[in-house]
């Protein structure tokens, strides 16, 4: 039974375990973003937040305690200056865990453990991208694709600023989840973060609009490469399998409203013609 036991053992002796966690916390403070297994990330997050609290306290005792824990001396001043400033107003929750895909060798669940509001905040990037895509989707509701390509999406920053004050049930250009993420990400950041998100969203919209062109070019390049290889092998009339690059299933193009399970099932997911029958799900 494991009722109420707080910490994991990781199949290691206590000394090994403690040193491993200290190393992980030190690496997290050094790089502000590390990738490790999910279990290790969860335990490291707990410890790291306590050490950041020591950094916020900023007195002799806490300095000595942190010094006893951190394994790399250059990391220590960062804890008492950078992190203390960054998290001055934030009451706890200084780390964030993103679940990634399982590792290929042993199917271990991998996670990205990062310090909140770090210069390479992953959640900020993803939120900015999602905001960009949703503004584009909104534009596509009223405008034709060609029109959107020609005009682009302006004033992303203004749209983003408007979203900050809305609550869950108000309807606007963003989905409720994206709006909530945007508000969370902006909560302890200043005005310049708004500009940053607006810029990233606009840039991402351009990327989305340029993707079909880029993919067509990649396709042509890959085909010509195959043709060149076949010609060198001495087969000038090479037909080969077309297209060379693999087709990706279940991808939602901008403006797509159907759910992912439906897209992923493809032709099998189409509901039956008779009204009585349920769709294949």
């Amino acid at each position: 039974m494991k009722h109420g036991v707080a910490f994991r053992k990781f199949s290691r002796t206590s000394s090994h375990r403690n040193l491993m966690l200290r190393n992980l916390v030190t690496s997290l403070f050094e790089h502000e973003q590390i990738r490790t297994t999910l279990a290790k990330a969860k335990d490291t997050a707990r410890l790291a937040e306590k050490i950041i609290t020591l950094g916020k306290k900023n007195n002799e005792t806490s300095y000595r305690q942190a010094q006893a824990f951190i394994l790399k001396p250059p990391v220590l001043p960062k804890l008492f200056t950078t992190f203390a400033e960054r998290y001055a107003n934030r009451p706890g929750g200084y780390t964030r865990i993103h679940r990634l895909d399982n590792r290929s060798g042993d199917n271990a669940p991998i996670a990205l453990l990062e310090l909140v509001d770090n210069p390479r905040d992953f959640k900020l990037e993803m939120t900015a991208r999602a905001v960009g895509r949703e503004l584009l989707n909104e534009k596509l509701r009223w405008d034709s694709p060609r029109g959107v390509v020609n005009s682009g999406v302006q004033h992303a920053e203004i749209a983003v600023a408007k979203e900050l004050n809305l609550s869950g049930f108000d309807s606007s250009e963003l989905r409720p989840t994206t709006r909530r993420n945007l508000q969370k990400v902006m909560k302890y950041r200043g005005r310049e973060a708004l500009t940053e998100i607006g810029a990233k969203a606009s840039a991402y919209i351009e990327t989305i609009l340029a993707k079909p062109v880029a993919e067509a070019k990649m396709q042509l390049q890959a085909d010509s490469k195959e043709k060149e290889k076949a010609r060198k092998r001495g087969n000038p009339n090479f037909v080969g399998s077309f297209p060379v690059l693999p087709a990706r299933a279940g991808v939602a193009s901008p403006g797509e409203t159907r759910p992912a399970m439906r897209l992923v099932q493809g032709a099998l997911g189409r509901p039956a013609r008779w009204r009585g029958r349920q769709a294949l799900a």
Binding site: H98, R99, L100, D101, L112, R120, F122, E125, M126, R129, A130, G132, R133, E134, R175, T177, T178, A199, K200, A203, Y204, E206, T207, K211, A214, E215, K217, M218, R248, A249, G250, V251, A252, S253, P254, E256, P259, A260, M261, L263, V264
Partner: protein, 148 residues
């Protein structure tokens, strides 16, 4: 052969313990065997002969080959289960697992970060070399085509 003997030893010992009252014959025989052996040896006394005294029901074995049909029926529940937690990434639209980060977005973001650190590192070392447009700072968020 040795492993078979060891297995028989274990099963013999467990059955010996459990059926202590039910097989007094075996018990007395075991005691007899131990008394008879004057010289010391590491080998256990006469296991093969004792094994023959145990009823065959103790040694379980399948009676006949399991038919293809019955084998398949037992394997009916062993198939891989479908993943129902597939959603579209809100950023790139590719299918991804719910509550997980999108693989394509993650790799492209990390690749961009790596590119930036590399550019900063090389920029610091060869500062005013009058390099081509590649060494100058690239615009903020344009992904290279190979990221998609």
């Amino acid at each position: 052969m040795a492993s078979l003997a060891l297995h028989q030893t274990r099963s013999f010992i467990s059955t010996f313990r459990s059926s202590w009252t039910q097989l007094p014959v075996a018990a007395s025989l075991a005691a007899n065997l131990e008394l008879r052996q004057k010289s010391f040896s590491w080998a256990l006394p006469g296991l093969q002969s004792l094994l023959e005294l145990l009823p065959p029901i103790v040694l379980a074995v399948p009676k006949s080959k399991i038919s293809h049909s019955r084998k398949s029926m037992r394997s009916a529940n062993k198939g891989l289960k479908d993943k129902r937690n597939i959603v579209n990434c809100p950023a790139c639209g590719e299918p991804k697992l719910a509550h997980h980060a999108c693989r394509a977005c993650y790799s492209s973001i990390m690749a961009r970060f790596k590119g930036e650190t590399k550019r900063l590192a090389t920029g610091a070392t060869k500062r005013m070399s009058g390099g081509s447009w590649l060494t100058r700072k690239a615009p903020l968020m344009i992904e290279s085509p190979k990221d998609s």
